[in-house]
């Protein structure tokens, strides 16, 4: 009790041990607290990627705002797109506070995105050609996002955990918004049912890739061990993928839809879903911004940034 620890009197090793003790005891680390570089850099990478993916993720969906089939659907998808942008704002703030001691700002995040140094999530490089895709993104892509984000709700880094609480609460609306679209199509005409089935077929591989490879052998690196060590997350990529299967495969099948993997089944002995691996070489290409829509979406983001430069300049002059 009351043994106040003055961090300026501690050696680096003692600081590190004190830090590990804090996170082990469930304390939250705040932006101004001492933290090891490895923790800071891991968080910056994770959260700036998460934040920018929220913003890039709004792009395939926003394509559907002008084409939504009814006013109610248009309002629904507009609200969702706005939420995604809001999530991006929250997460970028968390990343920016972590980057501040390094002298980096939001401009650096955007520059890194445009230059390809900062990746956006592999799932947002895909096409969304039909209204079925718009529904499927809400239902299953947001469903997958809920699985991976709830896994970090108790993250040791306080600002991230707090941002995720707000985000997950809204993701529930997103998932139900997507479910409502899918349900209406699945109960609709033959063409509508085919539209959903085609969207499922198109997105299945991307949904498998969503959680990332099971280990570092695929891409040469993996941050899973570090994020688990520092109590940022608890489950591995594969555990999350299995959770996703357990929650969503029965629901997909219950609507009379099929999944494009004839080997897919639940193995009772291993208590695991057995499935055909996605093409991880394709995954590697996608995360290098060589996916079907990578370049288009980056161009769109860049154009918005450049074309609105005058607004920032005008406001800056007015200060």
């Amino acid at each position: 009790m009351s043994d106040v620890i003055f961090s300026n009197q501690l050696t680096e090793k003692e600081k590190y041990e004190h830090f590990l003790k804090r996170i082990k005891e469930g304390e939250k680390i705040e932006a101004d607290d001492w933290m090891p570089d490895e923790y800071r850099f891991t968080l910056i990478k994770l959260i700036s990627m998460h934040g920018i993916s929220e913003i890039m993720g709004a792009l395939p969906e926003k394509e559907w705002v002008p084409k939504a089939p009814s006013l109610k659907r248009k309002l629904g998808i507009m609200a969702k797109v706005q939420d995604e942008m809001g999530h991006g704002q929250l997460l970028l703030r968390v990343a920016e506070d972590l980057m501040k001691p390094l002298g980096k700002t939001r401009e650096d995040i955007l520059e890194d995105l445009f230059s390809g140094r900062l990746k956006f999530h592999n799932v947002f490089h895909m096409e969304a050609p039909t209204w079925g895709d718009a529904g499927l993104i809400g239902w299953l892509v947001d469903g997958a996002a809920i699985i991976s984000q709830t896994n970090m709700l108790n993250a040791s880094y306080g600002p991230y955990a707090r941002a995720l609480k707000r985000i997950c609460a809204e993701e529930v609306f997103h998932a139900q918004h997507g479910e409502a679209i899918i349900m209406a199509l699945a109960e609709g005409t033959k063409e509508q049912r085919e539209m959903v089935q085609e969207a499922v077929n198109r997105w299945w591989e991307a949904l498998l890739m969503f959680f990332g490879p099971a280990d570092a052998s695929t891409t040469g690196t993996s941050k899973q061990d570090i994020t688990i060590k520092y109590r940022i997350r608890t489950k591995t990529n594969e555990e999350l993928r299995q959770d996703f299967f357990s929650k969503y495969i029965p629901r997909v099948l219950s609507l009379g839809l099929t999944l494009p993997d004839e080997t897919l089944h639940f193995d009772k002995e291993q208590a695991l879903w057995v499935y055909k691996q996605p093409d991880w070489n394709r995954f590697k290409e996608i995360i290098k911004n060589n996916g079907p829509k990578s370049k288009d979406r980056l161009e769109l983001r860049k154009m918005a940034y450049i074309e609105n430069q005058w607004v920032r300049e005008a406001l800056n002059m007015a200060k």
Binding site: R93, R312, L315, N316, K319
Partner: protein, 118 residues
């Protein structure tokens, strides 16, 4: 710090209703306090009810550092400050055939009267 660039850091607080306490929401970047206020509403209050919003420039806030936060820990010897330290009175009043006017009872006096017999 933060005043030289385009973006400035603001901390956002809001009240859910006129009687609720001000609650911290999150931070945001904005070029000035007017836009900060608009963004605060758009970023954090798209759904839940809200009665008031404050935005404060982060550089105007004096926060506690890690050491200072540790000085907030209390020793567990402050019973005399709380009703807990006077709990024995309940038994005493019973000897005088009177009920204890405890916190629950006293705070209920401000409420609208429901019935006489309670």
């Amino acid at each position: 710090m933060g005043s030289e660039g385009f973006y400035q850091e603001f901390e956002v607080f809001s009240k859910r209703s006129d009687t609720s306490p001000l609650q911290y929401q999150f931070s945001l970047l904005a070029p000035n306090s007017e836009i900060a206020l608009i963004m605060a509403q758009e970023n954090f209050m798209r759904r839940e009810p809200v009665a008031d919003i404050w935005v404060v420039k982060r550089s105007d806030i004096r926060k506690m550092n890690m050491e200072e936060k540790q000085t907030l820990q209390r020793l567990d010897n402050k019973e005399y400050r709380n009703t807990k330290g006077y709990g024995y009175l309940k038994k005493k009043w019973r000897q005088y055939e009177q009920g204890m006017l405890d916190e629950k009872e006293i705070l209920s006096w401000g409420e609208e009267k429901k019935s006489e017999n309670g």
